[in-house]
């Protein structure tokens, strides 16, 4: 079969970065167009194919942050540097970073939801008005934090609020859900400000409620959805919501449209 | 009432009860497999109203007992019962004389595959076939049929308990790994299934052939075997000395062999029954306890060709409390 879209290609693992006990970023060789928010179907040995968001884009590489689940062992995760993984993609629409070039922007990301917006945040941090860009990143606990080096960099360039749901005694950082920090954002014009929200469904739901309270318009909010996806091609059906295929039409949506999604 | 001169032994063999009410008896209707046609049931009602007290007892072994019949009416009742005997195709050497024996008890069966979703075979048909095979006989033998391992017929209380089995057939090409069979085997049965590399693997040692996997499979990846199989459990009993549950004897047995083995048992009883047994009645299990299981098997297997799938327990150990040895 020529041009079989299911046929994966081998991609060399250029680097493996361990964030937590469970989450690793694989820097994979990849040449081609790719945008933050898009995803690859990654064949994870001993597990199977899984849709993984692009968490970084380099020259000739993409970063894929993979959470270890089920029967995937540490050994598989750590041994792979210099070897290869099978990929296909990129799939989905991804974020249009140009939308956030001028004016105030708030990115709210929870847990692994930071992966798909990492590229967006990196772009924001390079923009001339970076000081009008706000990022609220939340993790379960200090040991669950992803992209620690990035967080340090971002802290210098834009307005980062880093928070954890809970922490051991003696932790000096913010403790609390991301939603707690929206009300106090010192925005000049919330009605025109843009927001990006990515994370687990309850976190997205309550974040959007807070943003709307703050004065955000639905049409200025962008969300990215995570669903089970076996193909990325609009065939397997798992990701469908109403008449929308998240893999084809998303995973990034304007909230004005996505607010009608009912699973 | 005239002078009564009744041979109680004959009365009992003729399937009438020796009643505590002097001058009265009860007529016992055999219903092999527990299925009776409505016309015969009508006849039962008629007899109960004509000779009895308008009361009908449903017995523990799926028979009917019409109480309150005068001993002097037995002949008339026997004439009336003929229609039921004919309709239920009960073996009988002489018409109009009622039931020729009562020692071998009514052969019972759960509703089985005629009605029950879990029934692995037509229990009623097999019970009727068995009845035909061994009745009339004065020896005290209890046989019970149940459709699956749920054992709703409580066959483990009988001398011979026949439990339906199916050998699940797996078509991996139809399996979508929905895990319904695995979950239900675990919850409703013995947990003999497991998912290996996306397909289901059956632990054949653990599997009891209950067919739960087949009933719950949504794609027909699991189907029943063409052959019906049986688990034969033996020598269960109630009673005063040593009540006990029947134990597994043969797994994956076939119908023909079971019919033959039960038939063979009667010759064994004739040979070894205690000649002084009260009322010439002795549970087979006690005879087996006396002769040893090996001797019993020798008689049982005479002329029997078990199928290739049959697994025989060469040694069987029964439990139950021995009240005769250790008291209550």
């Amino acid at each position: 079969m020529t041009n079989n879209p299911y046929l994966p290609f081998a991609s060399e693992i250029l680097d493996v970065i361990k964030h937590t006990e469970k989450e690793y970023t694989f820097r994979m060789a990849f040449k081609g167009d790719v945008k933050p928010g898009q995803f690859f179907e990654v064949s994870i040995p001993k597990y199977g194919e899984a849709p993984i968001s692009v968490s970084g884009i380099g020259d000739g590489s993409v970063d894929l942050t993979i959470r270890k689940v089920g029967r995937v062992t540490n050994e598989v995760f750590e041994r792979y540097k210099g070897q290869s993984l099978l990929l296909r993609g990129p799939y989905g629409n991804g974020f249009d970073v140009d939308l956030y070039r001028n004016g105030e922007v708030v990115v709210v990301a929870g847990g692994t939801g930071v992966s798909p917006v990492r590229g967006v945040i990196q772009a924001l941090s390079q923009m001339p008005d970076a000081m009008d860009k706000y990022v609220i990143a939340g993790f379960k606990s200090p040991s669950d934090m992803l992209f620690r080096d990035d967080l340090k960099e971002w802290e210098k360039k834009l307005k980062l609020t880093l928070t954890v749901d809970g922490a051991p005694e003696g932790y000096t950082g913010n403790i609390g859900l991301v939603t707690k920090f929206i009300e106090g954002l010192p925005l000049k014009n919330p009605a025109e400000a843009k927001a990006v929200v990515v994370g687990p469904p309850p976190m997205m739901k309550f974040t959007i409620i807070e943003l709307k309270k703050k004065g955000f318009k639905d049409s200025n909010i962008t969300v990215s959805h995570e669903r089970k996806m076996c193909c990325g091609l609009g065939k397997c059906g798992h990701c469908r919501v109403n008449d929308t295929y998240i893999c084809l039409d998303g995973p990034v949506f304007n909230y004005e449209f996505a607010k009608n999604f009912v699973d | 009432m005239g002078k009564l001169d009744i041979n109680v032994g004959k009365l009992k063999k003729n399937a009438f009860r020796y009643s505590k009410v002097r001058g009265e008896t009860a007529s016992r209707i055999r219903i092999p497999g527990g299925v009776i046609d409505s016309k015969s049931m009508g006849k039962v009602i008629e007899i109960a109203e004509k000779y009895g007290t308008g009361v009908i007892n449903i017995t523990n072994r799926q028979g009917i007992e019409i109480p309150g019949i005068k001993l002097s009416d037995m002949e008339k009742v026997n004439a009336d019962v003929q229609e039921i005997i004919d309709s239920l195709r009960i073996n009988q050497p002489e018409k109009g004389k009622g039931y020729p024996s009562s020692g071998t008890r009514n052969v019972i069966a759960c509703p089985g595959a005629r009605l029950c979703p879990f029934g692995c075979y037509d229990t009623t048909a097999f019970a009727q076939k068995m009845e035909n095979n061994i009745y009339p006989n004065d020896r005290h033998v209890k046989i019970a049929f149940t459709g699956c391992s749920n054992d709703c017929a409580k066959v483990r209380m009988a001398d011979f308990g026949i439990i339906g089995m199916t050998e699940p057939q797996y078509n991996k090409d139809r399996c979508v790994a929905c895990k319904a069979c695995i979950n239900f085997c675990k919850r409703r049965s013995v947990g003999a299934l497991e998912l290996v590399n996306g397909k289901v693997v059956r632990d054949t040692d653990k599997c009891i052939g209950c067919g739960v996997c087949v009933a719950y499979c949504p794609t027909r990846a699991w189907t029943r075997s063409r052959e019906h199989y049986f688990r034969l459990v033996i020598m269960g009993r109630t009673g005063k000395k040593n009540p006990r549950l029947a134990e597994d004897f043969i797994k994956w047995a076939d119908e023909e062999s079971i019919l033959k083995m039960v038939k063979n048992t009667y010759a064994y009883i004739e040979e070894y029954i205690d000649p002084n047994a009260v009322e010439h009645k002795e549970h087979i299990g006690y005879i087996v306890d006396r002769t040893g299981f090996e001797e019993f098997k020798k008689w049982l297997f005479e002329g029997v060709n078990l199928g290739p799938k049959a697994e025989v327990n060469q040694r069987v150990y029964w439990g139950g409390r021995h009240y005769d040895k250790y008291g209550g």
Binding site: M1, Y6, P8, P45, C236, H238 | Y121, D173, V214, R220
Partner: protein, 337 residues
């Protein structure tokens, strides 16, 4: 043009055709049903006419050749991914009007949804020609007339109708004319039988309001439905599948990739890595399935997904009637207006 054949010459025709075509047809499987001594009618390869069940509606649909319940797509080794092979001989699939109408729905997803055609679907689809089994009467639970799939004007190479001991065939595909001409002298116009009325009727509303999603009508299915997925597996228009990787070796580098039929009613359908799950309640799953069949598919593609074959109602072990739900939705939609 059409032909009349005796049952015997029809048998000869089928055995002749089986020299050049594989034949995939409904077959009565003795005792292979859910319960003891209960038959099931489902699809299988046949080589003679006697094996084909032309009278009863099949319990499972004809989609099983084009979208098998389980199919290996790739074999992978450490350095190589190899596509699986299939038997490339052409195949005749016997199906009723509903089955032929369902093909358009399968094509819609596998060939036309998204940018890429599904090559594993296409390689099977390209081998298939349909034989229409006429319907002289409606079966229990059929509501094809309401769904406008009761009649086939095209999409089949020849038709088969049993009547007065003979076989009546319309043969629109000239490539099959010679087969028929060989076995029948009785050449005449034949119109495949189709039903014009079903006992079960549904009225599908054109616009299902958004409020239906939260309507209480779904609640009873949370307890009534046992989420077994039979309705999906028998549905001629359900296309969902799940990818399954199988590993022959401990390191997970050698194995095969399969896809297996998926059901939106069955646990695991929405599971995402890390334990996330959508639609936990069976009532929500029912709503998701029903609205796809009679509303969401149409919003995207312009026509109804459901073909009204009623197989879901036939097979439901809990006596849930899909057609009844359609009518409930229509009623509730009317009330919402």
């Amino acid at each position: 043009m059409g032909y009349v054949l005796s049952r015997d010459t029809f048998a000869s025709l089928i055995s002749d055709l089986s020299q050049n075509y594989r034949i995939f047809a409904p077959v009565r499987k003795k005792g292979a049903g859910r319960f003891t001594d209960v038959d099931v009618v489902m699809y299988d390869n046949v080589s003679n006419a006697e094996a084909i069940e032309l009278e009863a509606k099949s319990d499972y649909s004809s989609k099983e050749f084009i979208t098998p319940l389980s199919e290996t797509l790739f074999y992978f080794t450490e350095n190589e991914v190899k596509e699986s092979d299939i038997d490339n001989r052409p195949i005749l699939v016997f199906g009723r009007s509903c089955d032929i109408h369902s093909l358009k729905r399968l094509d819609q997803i596998y060939l036309d949804n998204g940018l890429a055609k599904d090559p594993f679907y296409k390689r099977r689809r390209d081998l298939v020609k349909y034989v229409l089994i006429g319907c002289s009467h409606s079966f229990e639970n059929c509501f094809c007339v309401s769904m406008e799939s009761n009649k086939c004007d095209d999409g089949y190479v020849f038709s088969v109708d049993l009547a007065d001991g003979n076989v009546y065939s319309d043969v629109p595909d000239p490539a099959f004319d010679s087969y028929f001409a060989k076995y029948s002298k009785d050449k005449r116009d034949v119109v495949p039988k189709y039903v014009t009325e079903n006992e079960v009727k549904v009225s599908v509303t054109d616009s299902v309001p958004h409020s239906i999603i939260s309507h209480t009508l779904w609640d009873e299915y949370t307890t009534r439905c046992i989420n077994c997925g039979r309705c999906n597996y028998v549905c001629p228009t359900c296309t969902c599948y799940t990818m399954q990787d199988v590993f022959y070796t401990d390191n997970g580098k050698v194995g095969e990739r399969r896809r297996v039929g998926a059901s939106c009613m069955v646990d695991g359908y929405t599971d995402v890595a890390g334990g996330g799950q959508y639609r936990r309640k069976n009532g929500e799953r029912m709503r998701f399935k029903v609205l796809h069949k009679i509303s969401d598919f149409k919003k995207r593609f312009g026509y109804q997904m459901c073909v009204g074959c009623g197989r879901c109602d036939d097979i439901c072990p809990e006596y849930i009637s899909f057609s009844n739900i359609i009518n409930k939705v229509s009623q509730a939609s009317k009330e919402a207006e």
